[in-house]
Each structure stands twice: as C-alpha cells, then as structure tokens.
Amino acid sequence: MIKFIIKGILRDKSKSLIPIAVISVGVMVTVMMSGFLNGIFSDVINQNAKLDTGHVKIMTKPYSENKEQLPNDLALLEINELIDSLNYNYPDLIWTPRIKFGGIMDVPDALGNTKSQGPGMGLAMSLQNKESGELQRLQLNKSLKKGRLPERSGEVILSDDYATKLNISTGEKITFFGTTMEGSMVFQSFEMTGTVKFGSPLMDKGTFIIDIIDAQNMLDMENGTGELLGYFKDERYDDQKALVVSENFNAKFQESEDEYAPVMVTLKDQNGLRESLDMGDAFSGIFIFIFILAMSLVLWNTGLIGGLRRYNEFGIRLALGESKNNVFKLLLIEASVIGSIGSIIGTILGLIFCYYLQEVGIDISDDTANSTIIMPSVMRAYITPNLFFIGFIPGLFSMLFGTALAGRGIYKRETARLFKELEV
C-alpha cells in the first residue's frame, strides 16, 4: 500500500511538490529556531552557573539582599564547618567558595609610580585546590589568551580587554588597591601571569582572578567567603532537585535569630533568570504553535487546490465502489508520507544551519558591550537529540491537519450524482 502511494507521489509531482516544499521550509525553520533558542538558553544557564550563580548559592541573608554592592562585610564566616555539614547533608553537590570584590588595579612604572590604572572586579576562587574542580568548570585553560594560569600565591590573571586597557604584559607587577572586609585600606602586589577571554562582555570589561586563599588573607576574610557555590556532581542543572535542596536547607535556618544566618538560592532564582528563561520557553512554544497553524493554513489551501484538481479522480474511485472512508484514509496516508518526506528534508536542512550556527555563531559583543547581566558574547545554536524529531511534529501534524480539512469534501459527494458529474 505504502509502496503504491509513494509511487503515486513520485509519478504525480504536482500533488506533492508544493506541500513538500512548504513542509521542508517550515520544519527547517522550526529545527533551526529550536536549536538556536536551546543554544542561547543553555549558554545563558551555563555561563551564569560557571561564573556567578552556581547551581545553588549560599550567602548570608543581608549579603543576598545587597549582593549587587558586593558587601563582603556581610560575608559568611566559619565556612569550613559549613562545608563539612553541607557535604554530609547534600552529597550530590560539590561546594566551592567564591569572593567577589571591587577595587583599583594599578600598574607601576620603573620608579614604582602609577603608569596606568583602572577600576576592576576581582573574582577569587580555588585555583590551587585541584579537588575544587574550578579550573575545569570555568575552562580557564581554553579561555587563556596569553601566558599561563596562576600556579602560586601572589599571581593574578586579567581579562584580556582589561589587560589591554591597562597596557600590562605577562610577568609584570600589578597592585590591587581596595578595602578589606571591614573597610581597612589594602594594597597587594601580584604578578600578572596571563590573560583570559570569558566570552561575557560584562566579565571581559574589567575582571581579574586570584586564588581564594590570597583573597581571604588580603581582605581579612580567613575562613570566610562572600558566596558559597554548589554544583551538582554530574555538572547538569536540575531545577527540581535544586529547589528541593534549597527548601530543605532554608527550612533549617528559618527560625534562626542569627542576623547573618545563611540562605540558599537556586540558579534560576538569581539574576532574574527564572522569569527570563520561563518567558523564553513560553515564547518558543508560542512560536512553534503559530508556525504549525500558519503551515496548516497553507497546506489546507494546497489540499483544497489538490482536491479540486483530483475531483474527477475521487469521483471515479467513489463511482467504482471505493468507500468514502477508504478514499479519505488513503488521502491521510498519502499526506503522512508527504509530511514525512518534507520533515526529513526540513530536518536535514535545519540541522545543517544549526551546525553552522553552532560552530560559527552570531557575534553580539558590540551590542552587549554595556550589558549588566552575564550573557554570552556569541550566540550559538546547539544540536541536541530532540532536534532530530522535533520537526516531525509540525511537519506531519500540519500536513495531516491541512489534508483532513481539505478532504472533508469527499463526504459531501453524492454517489447518485457521480455519473452525471463525470458525464460518463
């Protein structure tokens, strides 16, 4: 039967060419957009998780309320004890401290006077503790543009743009000037060992990275941290699991009278990500729905034209005694085959475009140069397994829906008038 239908489709191209072309284009756009939106959302989540939010984050309550100001005077203290307890209670997660702090980076000339300087944002993380997994997590090796990563105490890496702005080369000395956790003035000299490109305009503008132990000593934050980040051991963010962990943790401190009691927030509950990602999901759903509807209308119209063209054929088949149900059934099977062919072609084309967008991407760094949120500077698509079948949903559905609407006319034909109509 299928073989017979395929033969019919191939031999009579006029009944299949336009629907296949329409479905191919529709499916291609659906696959491409799904891959692209997937890529953007995944990149936003991954970048935020890696650079800022973790999968979950623990801060003191007042710190979390003012975190934009990097209030290290409200930092978490006695974190080693806290990490021990977290490791025991939540074994699925790895915990790592991060300190963010602001200050001025000053490059000296040969006489020790200021050669260049600029405000910067410091990020302290466990670089020397290999068990923390921070180097792999941030893929700093891959992001390295010049020199090497810090290996010893007293070494710093700068974002490449920041190093260019400060006119500093690897191996040169640079002095941090800022304030400690309690507000004392602090000067600390570092050796600049290399530069990195974070791929986020916000971070690339003026970020430097030092080891957490250096930061704790420099900022008088021994056994303390601004933020304690938790990552699931499989490195995949699961919103449901994160919510369960955070609710369980926060319940323990709900009644605490300690002004500096810790509070845990999930990735999506930071930086307005939940709203943005939920809105993105909703938009992509609406987009696919509108696309299916538009394609169905086009295919309905194509089906109607095809139905009119095949008016005689259906008439003869009905006159020869074929049941209306059978004609309609065969029409739907034919539509399924056409839909499948269109979906396969559209999926292949969509995947080709996705692959291109995955490898090359769209550079938006100029448009996001002044962005205040962490987002990638290159928007990329990601080819995921669901892209191989997602196009078949609108492709098949719209073809079947369009054909079903157009094919209703078969049931309006009256057998008694068939021969008169056919002028046999």
Binding site: D73, I104, N113, Q117, M185, F187
Partner: protein, 249 residues
C-alpha cells in the same frame, strides 16, 4: 515723559534692590566669618576616624598637616594594618603610599569618589579645602533654632564648575559662626550626605567643632565620626611635608 517714567520705576524698585543686596551681603559676611573660623593658613590635626561597620567598629588614628587650600599631608598612625600609610594632596592630585608594598598610587578622576577606608567620606571630601565664600553664593533662607541654639538656615549654591556638591544647606550658629549641621546635595537635588558638627570649642580666637559626623545618605548605617584629638592653627610646617619625597620617608 519717558525719562520721568524711568525715574519713577527706579525710585519704586530702589528700596527693594537695596534690601536684597543688603541680605546677600549679610549672607556673604556670615560665610566669610565661617571661613575665618574653619580655615587657617596651616593646620596640624591629630584625629580619630570612627567607622561603624555592620559587624564591628574601627578606629583609625591619623595626623594631618595642611597648608592653604592646595596642600595636605596625612600619615596614619593606627591600627597596625593602616600604620605608615600616607596620603599627599597637592592641588587636585592625590597620592597614597603603602609601606606594605612600597608603592605610591596616584588617584584621579572618578576614583576620588571612592570611600576612604570604608567610611562615609570620599577622597574628594577629604580634598575639598576651598573656602565656602570662594566657591558658593549664599542666601539666608530662614532663622530658626537647632538644639536650642539660634541659627540661620542658609542655602549655598555652587558658583564654580566641578564641585562635589552643587548645593549645601547649612544651619549656622548665630553666636559662634560655626555650622551645626549641613546637608549636601547633587545637582539633581538628591541629598547625598549629612554632616553634623558638635563639641564646638574655642581654640585661640576661633570656634571650631571637635567632633563631626558624616553620613552618606546612599548607604545604611550611622555614618562616620571624625573626632579631633589635637589641633593647632597657623603653626610653622616645613615645606618638605608637601613634597612627594615625604611619602617614602
């Protein structure tokens, strides 16, 4: 007829013009008297800055030397972390020396708006040593009392470009010609800081506040106290105190 009309108009307006000029002159005389109290050719001040942090308070002791409005040198005496840190201001340039790194850093531009040691004072605040009468126009807004002391409430508006505070409202002690309170505003009208002057003492022939509380209105907390332990006016200060060489000595 036209000539007579002009004479008539002038004669009607003259008493008002005279009265407004007299008021302006009175306001100007008041701020000149404030300047006489608050400014001197040289000053040597030993002070404590008390910074009220969220978790604990810090007391930073320093000794400052100033000459005129351009030159200022401050050496921090305690606590241990700050000891030996020196600041030198010459005109509109500021250098900070750190003994720990043996580095001298020059601050300029918007970096001067940063807080000094976590206090409610910015470097810009510390550098502002120009006489009020030179940089602001003044008018008396109201006569009132403040903490049972009769005061003039005066409004000062910047008459030069580039000041940290475009407008100031001052509560001036009518008898001592010393401000008791000051509100500092941005050009947009936003209240940026409030300063309260207490423990007014007579030193030589001038009245001077020995305790000043600075409150940054854009920050939480109860501000920063600046307590003067010892002050001398118009003493002789060697010129080398206002040279960059002093920083590394």
């Amino acid at each position: 007829m036209q000539k007579q009309l002009i004479i008539l108009l002038i004669s009607i307006q003259f008493p008002f013009l005279l009265s407004s000029q007299q008021i302006d002159q009175k306001a100007f005389n008041i701020i000149e008297k404030i300047d006489k109290n608050m400014f001197s050719k040289t000053q040597i001040v030993t002070s404590e800055m008390i910074v009220y942090g969220k978790r604990k308070k810090r007391v930073i002791r320093s000794k400052g030397y100033s000459m005129g409005k351009e030159n200022n040198f401050t050496e921090y005496l305690s606590p241990e972390r700050e000891k030996g840190t020196k600041m030198l201001k010459l005109d509109d340039r500021l250098w900070i020396y750190s003994p720990a790194t043996d580095r001298t850093i020059q601050l300029s531009g918007h970096l001067l708006r940063q807080s000094v040691m976590g206090s409610d004072l910015s470097y810009e605040d510390m550098m502002e040593e120009r006489k009020l009468s030179e940089i602001y126009t003044a008018k008396i807004v109201q006569e009132d009392s403040f903490n049972n002391t009769p005061v003039w409430i005066m409004e000062l508006v910047s008459k030069v470009e580039g000041l940290a505070y475009y407008k100031r409202t001052l509560w001036i002690d009518k008898n001592k010609y010393v401000p008791l309170k000051e509100n500092l505003y941005a050009k947009s009208g936003t209240l940026l800081k409030t300063t309260t002057f207490t423990e007014i003492k007579k030193i030589d022939a001038r009245w001077y506040p020995m305790k000043i509380n600075y409150k940054d209105m854009l920050k939480d907390g109860k501000g920063t106290d600046f307590v003067i332990l010892d002050i001398s006016f118009d003493s002789n200060i060697p010129k080398e105190f206002f040279s960059k060489n002093i920083l590394k000595k």
